[in-house]
């Protein structure tokens, strides 16, 4: 018996090849363009995160006393460790960017409407899971800023004491916190993300890459494949270039006796950071969660074509507000020199 036949009898691989051919022949709207490759780019970045994350986890020590030193060893002593860490860091940043851009594209096209509501919700949950992965991952190097950023976030939950203690594993940040964040970052959240990705892909396969009217011209998916491959190549090249040119350094180890003067989170959390300045703890948290709920509820808020223009306007205004909050968070409590004159911003981002 030939080898191919031997495997065919056991795996039925010819059926898989045929299924792949059928997928490539599936009709998609002829208007599908480059912006439709963002989802695949996000999937690629997630797979880079998994691959680099597994390798980083091999040398990371999940403890308050040794965590920072192990990250320093990975970065400075392990061969290629700096590149792995840099790739992991930048892939996470690009993943958030790709997911946001993907969501904006779907929003602008109104591609979340019936029957694609669940596809949108799964995408929104993926964005939230990616942010949770960033949050837990930012903490693990146990740098000064990440330690205090985690203190802030878990401290913001103090109005629900059980929740704050469950997150931290105690009354304050301790080894239990590192264990919990490490487990969430390495096991729970990636598994959740993988499940969401698989469900999302299943729905995209079932409902098509984009809504299509019956009389719309179509092309086979095969004709879009070259865009996907080129897009992935470009994203991979961009990632490696940034990771090499802007390697992720190891910040100073945390000092739990003194909060540093500038506790500012990474760019993706700046809008939340700034929101917490304008509102007391509980209303601030409620607002942030309301924002996340609104994002997930988009398909149920857009009730028809007649109000579509207003809905898109409201959505883009909300996105602009988030960006503005991020910008205010970036400039707040800092001084910048612009055209020779110094401008100082107060904690609310208002020029003094």
């Amino acid at each position: 018996m030939k080898l191919g036949e031997w495997f065919e009898e056991r795996f039925g691989w010819r059926g898989w090849v045929q299924a792949a051919h059928d997928e490539l022949a599936k009709p998609i709207p002829a208007r599908v363009n480059w912006s439709f490759t963002l989802g695949t780019a996000a999937g690629f970045l997630f797979s880079v995160l998994v691959a680099t994350g597994v390798l980083l986890a091999l040398n990371y020590s999940a403890s308050l006393s040794t965590g920072h030193a192990s990250v320093r060893d990975i970065t400075h002593d392990q061969a290629g460790g700096w590149l792995l860490r840099s790739l992991h860091f930048w892939a996470a940043n690009l993943l958030v960017l790709a997911l946001v851009a993907h969501a904006l594209r779907v929003f602008a096209h109104g591609a979340y409407r019936r029957p694609r509501e669940i596809t949108w919700i799964l995408g929104g949950l993926m964005l939230l899971t990616a942010l949770a992965l960033c949050f837990t991952g930012d903490f693990l190097p146990l740098e000064d800023v990440s330690y205090w950023a985690t203190t802030v976030v878990t401290g913001s939950l103090e109005d629900v004491p059980t929740l704050a203690r469950a997150f931290r594993g105690g009354d304050a940040i301790s080894d239990a916190t590192v264990s919990r964040f490490h487990t969430a970052h390495v096991w729970i959240l990636p598994a959740t993300m993988l499940a969401l990705v698989l469900l999302h892909l299943r729905l995209v396969r079932r409902l098509g890459i984009s809504p299509r009217s019956p009389d719309e011209p179509t092309v086979p998916f095969r004709s879009h494949l070259h865009r996907e491959i080129l897009s992935l190549t470009a994203v991979a090249a961009l990632l490696v270039t940034i990771a090499v040119l802007l390697p992720r350094e190891v910040g100073p180890k945390f000092d739990d006796s003194r909060t540093p003067a500038d506790v500012r989170p990474n760019w993706y959390f700046l809008p939340m950071y700034q929101t917490l300045k304008y509102f007391p703890r509980l209303p601030g948290l409620v607002l942030i969660n309301l924002g996340a709920l609104l994002l997930l509820a988009v398909p149920f808020l857009d009730r028809g074509w007649t109000r579509r223009r207003w809905f898109v306007f409201a959505g883009l205004a909300a996105f602009a507000l988030v960006c503005l909050l991020g910008l205010l968070g970036y400039v707040s409590d800092r001084a910048f020199t612009l055209f020779g004159s110094e401008i100082r911003f107060d904690v609310y981002g208002i020029p003094e």
Binding site: V152, E158, G169, L276
Partner: protein, 141 residues
């Protein structure tokens, strides 16, 4: 499809599904409390944390206390001890002698010398510890 009513097979399927759901719910209920650490029963104090000479005359001294820290403020002959964790998001406040205020570096919360919030997002005053001076030593409870 014709309605066959309640058959033995359907009854067994339903009972099996209910049993599976019950097991999943029981496992969930058993797991949730596991995630919440038991409350700390340890009560700190009275503990000698500093001597009077260590505390600046019109200033503050941060000392380890219990599982966290305490900030002892001295203004002339009067002393007060605060939990330095900001009541907004638990960053550690710092004493600003030039303004007679505590300031939080994270979200710009400001507290007066009594620990009362005066600016920024905090709404609750800083928590205070009981302070006693015996001889030249400062005790916190």
């Amino acid at each position: 499809m014709a309605d066959e009513g309640l058959t033995r097979r359907r009854l067994l399927d339903g009972a099996l599904a209910a049993a599976c759901l019950g097991c999943a719910a029981a496992a969930g209920c058993a797991t949730l409390p596991y995630l919440i650490p038991p409350p700390s029963r340890r009560r700190a104090g009275p503990v000698a944390v500093a001597s009077l000479d260590q505390i600046p005359l019109e200033g503050a001294l941060a000392v380890p206390f219990g599982r966290g820290r305490a900030l002892i403020l001295r203004r002339g002959d009067s002393f007060a001890a605060f939990d330095p964790a900001c009541t907004h998001a638990r960053c550690l406040v710092e004493w600003r002698p030039d303004r007679n205020q505590f300031r939080c570096p994270c979200h710009g919360g400001v507290f007066d010398a009594e620990g009362q919030p005066v600016a920024g997002p905090p709404r609750q005053p800083l928590a205070r510890f009981e302070l006693r001076v015996r001889g030249r030593r400062v005790f916190l409870e």
